[in-house]
């Protein structure tokens, strides 16, 4: 039986998350908003709040109890993320979601020693943020999804085996999330440049402060102003072979099948939260602002927009919750179809609702002091992060075509990439 009723614990989690976001995150966002962006590092402002959240257990939500975590579910995480995302998409999606969901890679790909080491580190430090360093400046993000067995396509960062160590060299793009804030970087690197990317990419844990690891200039995005993004340079970075998660060259399957639904589900939930915040903002305005002697919400052109916003939020949340349930049940379809579908649709909805809010506010919608510009810019950053909406859509249909024998093997992000070129 399908049941969307939250458990008592989930309702309490939702209340705690909502209150925490309003009382603890909102003041940080408001403070950062009025600061000179060249004079400060967002993480310095965010960190005390993040530590407080960690004391409540947010940071270890998904980590199993035997490793000191909460052992909670993907569904619990999407409930948390929607509430945090409704106050600030960026803080929710970057510091929280990346740090909460990336450990799933270790939970599924790490051996017992690795789980003890890394999960233990994460649960024992309240400011332990993780960063993902995968995409590269001269490599298209989509190359990571390329099924063609051409070794020239794919990441250029290279990890050379040297006895019991790897020596990693390369540079990661200016969009590395949490760069400069993170305690540890998930670094994707090739271990054999003569093999295609999907057979030669591995994931390494590289602690901040490892000699040779440098974070470049902070990248200014059009939105996500509370976040930290920067280039990451790796110059002969030496790490023990035990810092490689999973088999050498096995990153793709590991990432897609196990971790993706958790990461994408959390990210999509943040966007549902933002879409909801845009609605709430426009709804309030539409009842205060008057034209022709009545609140503009009484005009059908405005009322219909508000209604469309609700319809979109409801639909996007359903997709996120379905994905979360599938992830918790270990359904393999969660990765191939539901993850990209939920993420791309939630971003579609966030962009649409930001635009609707902006139009409802009319002239004030484009004024800096109103929130609508922030909604729109934050929403559009989602278009490209963790796979563009186009790439994700291609992935969905290619997977479906392939699984029905309508085209060659998996292509363009549609699933584990271990076959010959697509049709």
């Amino acid at each position: 039986m399908v049941d969307f009723t939250l458990t008592d614990e989930q309702q309490m989690l939702q209340d705690t998350a909502r209150n925490f976001a309003l009382n603890e995150i909102k003041p940080v966002v408001d403070e950062i908003k009025i600061m000179d962006r060249t004079q400060f590092t967002p993480w310095d402002k965010v960190k005390p709040m993040y530590e407080k959240a960690s004391e409540l257990g947010f940071n270890k939500l998904l980590i199993p109890e035997e490793y000191g975590g909460m052992g909670m579910s993907c569904m619990d995480n999407v409930i948390l993320m929607e509430e945090l995302g409704a106050v600030d998409l960026t803080i929710a999606a970057s510091y929280f979601n990346v740090s909460i969901t990336s450990p799933v890679i270790i939970m599924h790909g790490g051996n017992e020693d690795q789980k003890k080491k890394w999960l233990g580190e994460i649960v024992s430090a309240n400011d332990y943020v993780l960063a993902s360093a995968s995409s590269e400046p001269d490599v298209a993000g989509a190359d990571s999804f390329c099924p063609f067995p051409d070794p020239r396509i794919g990441l250029k960062t290279f990890a050379r085996r040297d006895g019991d160590d790897y020596i990693i060299s390369g540079s990661k793009s200016a969009f590395s999330t949490n760069a400069g804030a993170a305690a540890t970087y998930f670094v994707m690197a090739r271990t054999d440049l003569s093999k295609p990317g999907f057979m030669s990419t591995s994931m390494f844990m590289v602690p901040a402060g490892t000699p040779g690891l440098k974070v470049g200039k902070k990248t200014e995005l059009i939105g996500w102003k509370t976040g930290m993004h920067a280039e990451v340079f790796l110059d002969e970075v030496r790490v023990p072979a035990s810092f490689r998660i999973g088999e050498e060259g096995a990153n793709s399957g590991l990432f897609f099948l196990k971790a993706l639904p958790f990461i994408a589900g959390g990210l999509a939930a943040c966007y549902v939260g933002m879409a909801r915040a845009a609605f709430e903002y426009a709804f309030e305005y539409a009842h205060q602002r008057e034209s022709w002697g009545m609140p503009i919400a009484n005009h059908q052109a405005v009322a219909m927009k508000l209604s469309d916003m609700v319809v979109d939020i409801e639909a996007a949340r359903l997709m996120v919750w379905k994905l979360a349930c599938a992830a918790d049940a270990g359904d393999p379809k969660a990765a191939a179809v539901m993850s990209p579908a939920a993420k791309t649709f939630a971003v579609d909805v966030a962009i649409r609702n930001a635009e609707r809010a902006l139009r409802i506010l009319g002239g004030y919608g484009v004024a800096q002091e109103y929130e609508t510009g922030k909604f729109l810019n934050d929403a559009w950053v989602g278009d490209s992060c963790d796979g563009t909406r186009d790439m994700l859509r291609l992935g969905i249909i290619n997977f479906i075509r392939q699984s029905r024998g309508k085209m060659g093997p998996p292509s363009m992000g549609g699933g584990p990439m271990d076959g010959p070129p697509g049709a």
Binding site: D8, Q11, M12, L13, D15, T16, N19, L61
Partner: protein, 258 residues
């Protein structure tokens, strides 16, 4: 040390309140119910006190079944045990009767100190805590903004208009908690997960030896919203003198204030 905290479930102050058809209560549908914010302060005070004195915290509430959510929230914040006395009348009792029920329940459990909110944000009577202390014959200090523990006694600060009182009383005692005493903690994720496993007793009035026909000292005759404030009326005139003259005219002849 046995620490008791009293909690009440109230409508979230952000809820859209409507008066019911009988004009004696609010409409109870579509309300988000939360723990009375002053009781959150009381729970925090109880937990802090219990930690210092290695005590255990029991949450006690009198309310309809839905109130168990607020008791559970207090358990998630860290209290050890909950007792809900089921209110068959859905919060229609006055503070006198509420205090009588809670006093009866409290006589049946050990308590060295009782914490309550200074007021509840629904009917705002400021009475229940005080009436319980009276019924139990124990000292009380109300509207406390700071609390220090000394050997078998407490020292509390109470803000008055333009001043501050510092009062001391022996235990057992009852304290009502005012804003400023502390910042209530959020229920943590471990707290939330543990809350369901903690004991929560639900008792009918008959189980604590009371009759359902409790009677009360006062009852609500009618409820009304305050009148909406009228928009300001702007007085226009060529000069300040002309405006002042018009104002005096209005105040004298229309409003009859001068």
């Amino acid at each position: 040390m046995d620490v008791v905290v009293l909690v009440k479930q109230v409508p979230d102050t952000g809820s859209n309140l409507e008066i019911a058809e009988d004009k004696k209560n609010i409409q109870l549908d579509n309300i988000k119910w939360v723990m009375n914010p002053y009781d959150e302060i009381a729970v925090e005070a109880a937990l802090t006190f219990a930690k210092e004195k290695q005590g255990r915290v029991t949450v006690v509430s009198f309310g309809p079944l839905r109130s168990q959510d607020s008791v559970r929230t207090a358990l998630a914040m860290g209290a050890d045990k909950g007792i809900l006395i089921i209110d068959p009348e859905n919060c229609r009792y006055d503070p006198f009767t509420t205090a009588a029920v809670l006093s009866t329940a409290l006589q049946q459990i050990p308590c060295d100190i009782i914490f309550a909110g200074a007021r509840s944000v629904d009917f705002d009577n400021f009475q229940t805590g005080s009436a319980i202390a009276q019924n139990l014959g124990i000292p009380q200090i109300t509207q406390v903004t700071r609390l220090d523990i000394i050997e078998n006694a407490i020292v509390c600060h109470q803000i008055t208009e333009g001043g501050e009182l510092v009062k001391q009383c022996p235990l057992p005692a009852l304290v009502t908690c005012q804003r400023g005493l502390n910042e209530p903690r959020y229920p943590s994720l471990p707290g939330i997960m543990k809350a369901k496993k903690k004991p929560l007793e639900k008792k009918e009035l008959s189980e604590i030896g009371l009759d359902a026909e409790l009677g009360q000292k006062s009852k609500i005759i009618s409820l009304a919203f305050p009148e909406e404030r009228r928009a300001a009326r702007m007085i226009e005139g060529e000069t300040p003198q002309a405006c002042a003259s018009k104002l005096v005219d209005i105040l004298h002849n229309e409003v009859k204030a001068i």
